[in-house]
């Protein structure tokens, strides 16, 4: 019998169900970026270290380069494109801008999703808890200073409209 090399999966991404025939070896991040065209999720390494590809999978922050697309069959995924609602930025997005928590913007989508995951589970994080929550996300531009400030500002409700 020929080995099965592809599989039909169904994934709900940002509220929309997508059904696709995918190669068994296709990474989830490539499904998101290349097949669904959601290019906000980025790739910065090939070892799972950098976190640029972080998305929420059934509410958990995961590195989408560390999962096969077939492993996401039946799952609900949120990417950076889900954050803004009808043109209004999510408070984290606004705070990142207010605090200059991004320069090149490449790590930002993954960083935002890790930050969202933190605040979804811990409304009043300490600075150390914020740093722990984003330690899987590498930023090469900011030294993390303003990212930590921005997340703390959202937790304290200090975000401009």
């Amino acid at each position: 019998m020929e080995p099965v090399t592809s599989q039909r999966i169904g994934v709900t991404v940002n509220g929309a169900l997508h059904e696709r025939e995918v190669e068994a070896r296709r990474l989830l991040v490539h499904l998101i970026r290349d097949d669904l065209g959601l290019t906000g999720t980025h790739v910065g390494c090939d070892t799972g270290n950098c976190g640029a590809c972080t998305v929420l999978l059934d509410g958990a922050a995961v590195k989408s380069c560390m999962l096969l697309a077939v492993q996401a069959d039946g799952a609900t995924i949120e990417t950076v494109e889900s954050l803004a609602q009808e043109g209004d930025l999510h408070p984290l997005q606004q705070a990142f801008s207010d605090h200059h928590a991004l320069q090149c913007g490449y790590c930002t989508p993954g960083m935002l999703m890790s930050a969202k995951h933190l605040l979804d589970h811990n409304a009043e994080p300490t600075e150390n808890e914020i740093r722990r929550a984003i330690q899987g996300n590498i930023c090469r531009c900011t030294g993390y200073v303003n990212i930590v400030e921005a997340i703390a500002a959202v937790a304290k409700g200090e975000v401009s409209a």
Partner: protein, 826 residues
């Protein structure tokens, strides 16, 4: 919060900051798209029927290529084609070399021809229907290698029995020369003490931008033109390298980019990969897409230069005044000289560091080794040299028992001496180093440092304080290249901007730059809005770069700390031209006496004496662009579409004396670092850190501070964690982010920042280029470790990279480092 912003008011002698949007931290224009994942980075560009590209790379550091067989790869269904070195050698000419002999004899192609010279050297490239398939195909390419002896250690590269990388050059030497300024022998004779340091080593690392290199390349058969959607950060240089190699004209290589995910110099030297993609796109008659893998970036792309300083001699007077230095420097540029040997002169922009050292002699040489080729890396070449000057200061202070703060203040160039001409003719434009140092020391609570030292001691820790004082020299005079090779025809610098008033009154700005996080859209809009009397929201700055916009020149790009001078010089020049045209037009329409009677305010051109009489910008745009019948002939040149080329005032340096001004502006960074070392393990922690910056007038203080944070983080990463480490076979041991550890959020200490503004007298806005910093983080950590180890054996820090195990070595065997330093009493 973790950050203390201790920004102070401008010094008294400085003019008050101009009123307007410049100087304010307005919201960043780039953010709205970037926080929503709507940026367009190179891997986001899509084309139908694209071929995904994978490079086949050498597993050996040095080997002859006996045979390459791509037939198995081509048989795989979905593989579109391949390209190997022999085809590249037939279809292209070797890249232009900047050096004189022997370096000029190096033959460098887009793919390895005949032999490989470093692990990761590309030997073939394949294209296929999917990324995965391209990787499969690459694995099916069979390459027969015949391994050769390798050269890893730059200090051994010129040994008689060392293997030679480039037979055409006949040696591993790329470039060598002597730099001699002042009178070192007399200084030596006048010294009361001479401090000698046998060897100092600056380690190999790179800033490893999070987005790797990449391109989508299309070839148009009808016009024989390539379009490169590429994240190269210096298209001007890439085109100069690629055009002759591809035997085509400059305009046949169209460079396009929008958002670039960090670059830090590492995306300047991608021309070899881009040439391979151009050939492949033409050969296969389809667009090809390449996104470099992280491992490939580490093994095969730009590294920062490694440098060794040997036989250092420092003459010192009894009071601690230092008269200069003499040394040999050996720079390791890896397997190919792609931007080199420019690093052999660029350090000379900051020859004496921040110090009044008048007598300097350096015998400088650059060699090839079987390691990844080097390219510019944030602080390029100056960082290595400034680390040397800061090590010299702290080792001299340590050996002569002088206070590291006082010896700096004694030897620093003084604020009242600015502008200051260095021994080699560079002109430091402005600055107040001692004042910045005092601010940095205040931020770390230096006044109570002895109590902190005792507190640390009571907890079994060794506390140390270190200072890193550096300059960020910006706006290159490319004439410095002629000090390496008198036949090179490069000098000066330039940047371009176009500003137009469109048909509905929109202000549209086009830049020649290729920003990678430096916020050019925002900063340009601030400058434009102040001149035109509108708000930054009214100004549309096109995102990114496209050489078909015709808003670029030979040196366009984003590199070497220059946008605030060259980029904004071009923006303000073009906007002034546009403002003048609007005033001339409005004067005619409104019947004014002349353009001087018109003011621009709130989107209107108004009569100065009667603001009720006003012509909206929309009308100006409409009249000139779409309703121009009957305009008088004196307005024939009014197009409301103005292009300006900014050109800094440089001369070609004196080639005989290697003397002249090599950069226009010099921003100051003074960092202060406090570490606590565990003497049992060598593990240390940065417990306090301050960075004070002076880059003249700041157009956007928040953006400036962000650059300071980032530069500090790169320095700390290099000091503590980041190293491209090779074994004796030339195998890279840190080829991904597992092994090459960059700082994570928990690794970074809180950063305190401060700023003063010493406006540059040489730039119209009083700005200075900034952003690279000078590696002050590396220097301050080295100094702090050395200070901490005083009571535990007095070790000397002689390497720029100090992971915990190296500190443990210094604790265990301090005499080994001490043996490298000798003091001659006179």
């Amino acid at each position: 919060m973790s950050t203390t912003n201790a920004t102070t008011a401008a010094p008294e002698q400085v003019e008050a900051p101009q009123k307007g949007f410049a100087g304010q931290s307005v919201p960043r224009k780039e953010d709205k798209r970037l926080v929503q994942g709507q940026g367009v980075f190179v891997d986001d560009v899509r084309r139908h029927e694209v071929g995904y590209v994978h490079f086949v790379r050498s597993p050996y550091a040095h080997a002859a290529i006996a045979n390459i067989d791509v037939s198995a790869a081509l048989e795989l269904e979905g593989v579109y084609g391949a390209l190997i070195g022999e085809e590249v050698a037939a279809l292209t000419d070797p890249f232009f070399q900047l050096s004189v002999p022997p370096g000029s004899e190096i033959k460098d192609y887009a793919l390895a021809v005949g032999k490989v010279r470093h692990l990761g050297d590309p030997v073939a490239v394949v294209a296929a229907r999917t990324r995965e398939l391209a990787r499969d195909a690459a694995e099916l390419v069979e390459v027969e290698y015949e391994p050769l002896p390798v050269v890893v250690d730059p200090e051994r590269a010129l040994d008689e029995d060392a293997a030679v990388l480039h037979e055409d050059a006949g040696t591993n030497l790329v470039w060598s020369g002597a730099f001699d300024w002042g009178d070192f022998d007399t200084a030596l004779a006048e010294a009361d003490r001479v401090v000698r340091i046998e060897r100092l080593h600056f380690d190999r690392f790179s800033s490893t931008p999070l987005e790797t290199s990449g391109a989508l390349v299309e070839y148009d058969r009808g016009t024989a033109q390539w379009t490169l959607h590429a994240n190269n950060q210096f298209p001007g240089f890439a085109i100069i390298m690629m055009g002759p190699a591809l035997r085509t004209g400059m305009d046949k290589l169209r460079f396009v980019s929008q958002d670039i995910g960090g670059a830090f110099g590492n995306k300047i030297c991608t021309h070899p990969q881009l040439v391979a993609l151009c050939l492949l796109a033409r050969k296969l008659n389809r667009p090809v897409q390449w996104t470099e893998w992280r491992t490939d970036q580490h093994t095969g792309n730009s590294h920062g230069n490694e440098r060794v300083f040997l036989d250092v001699e420092v003459p010192v007077k009894a009071d601690g005044t230092m008269l200069g230095f003499r040394c040999k420097a050996v720079d390791d540029c890896g397997a190919y000289s792609r931007y080199e040997p420019l690093g052999c002169i660029i350090w000379a922009q900051v020859t004496p560091g921040l110090y009044r050292w008048r007598n300097v002699h350096i015998d400088f040489s650059q060699v090839c080794t079987n390691k990844s080729p080097c390219g510019p890396n944030r602080g390029y070449s100056r960082m290595q040299h400034l680390w040397f000057t800061e090590r010299v200061i702290d080792i001299v202070a340590h050996e002569l028992d002088l206070d590291p703060v006082e010896i700096r203040k004694l030897n620093y160039i003084k604020a009242e001496e600015m502008p200051y001409e260095t021994p080699n003719g560079c002109v430091y434009d402005s600055g107040d180093y001692a004042r910045c140092l005092d601010m940095a020391l205040d931020l770390i609570g230096y006044g109570s440092i002895e109590e902190k030292r005792q507190d640390a001691q009571s907890r079994g820790k060794l506390l140390g304080v270190g200072i890193g004082s550096t300059l960020d020299s910006g706006t290159n005079n490319f004439g410095q290249s002629q000090l390496l090779n008198p036949d090179l025809q490069f000098s000066g610098n330039n940047e371009v901007a176009s500003v137009k008033l469109d048909i509905f009154g929109e202000v549209v700005v086009t830049l020649g730059t290729t920003p990678q996080g430096q916020s050019h859209e925002t900063v340009a809009s601030q400058v434009v809005s102040d001149i035109l009397g509108v708000t930054p929201d009214d100004v549309h700055v096109r995102a990114g770069h496209d050489s078909y916009w015709n808003s670029h020149a030979g040196f366009s790009g984003t590199y070497a700390s220059q946008f605030a001078v060259t980029g904004l010089g071009a923006v303000s020049g073009a906007t002034e031209l546009l403002a003048d045209q609007i005033r001339r037009l409005a004067a005619v329409i409104l019947g004014a006496d002349g353009p001087d009677a018109i003011v621009l305010d709130g989107g209107f051109a108004k009569l100065r004496d009667n603001p009720e009489a006003a012509l909206p910008f929309m009308a100006c745009g409409a009249i000139v662009n779409a309703n121009n019948a009957g305009l008088p002939p004196e307005l024939d040149d009014v197009t409301l579409n103005c292009r300006y080329v900014y050109k800094p005032p440089f001369q070609v340096p004196d080639k005989e004396r290697k003397f002249g001004n090599l950069t226009l502006t010099y921003a100051t960074q003074i960092h202060a670092c406090v570490v606590e070392v565990d003497p049992a393990t060598g593990v240390y922690e940065i417990v306090d850190y301050a960075a004070v910056d002076d880059c003249g007038n700041r157009i956007h203080p928040q953006i400036v501070e962000g650059q300071v944070h980032g530069a500090a983080a790169h320095g700390l990463g290099a000091a503590m964690f980041e190293t491209f480490s090779y074994d004796e076979d030339g195998t890279l041991l840190t080829s991904n982010f597992y092994d090459y550890h960059v700082p994570h959020a928990l690794d970074m200490p809180p950063l305190k920042t401060g700023a003063i503004e010493s406006p540059s007298p040489f730039t119209s806005l009083g700005t200075k280029g900034m952003g690279e910093g000078g590696g002050a983080g590396i220097h301050s950590v080295c100094a702090a470790i050395q200070d901490a180890l005083r009571p535990a054996g007095n070790a000397i820090v002689t390497d720029s990279h100090n992971p915990y195990h190296r500190v443990w070595d210094l604790l265990r065997a301090p005499e080994a480092s001490r043996a490298l330093v000798k003091v001659e009493q006179r």
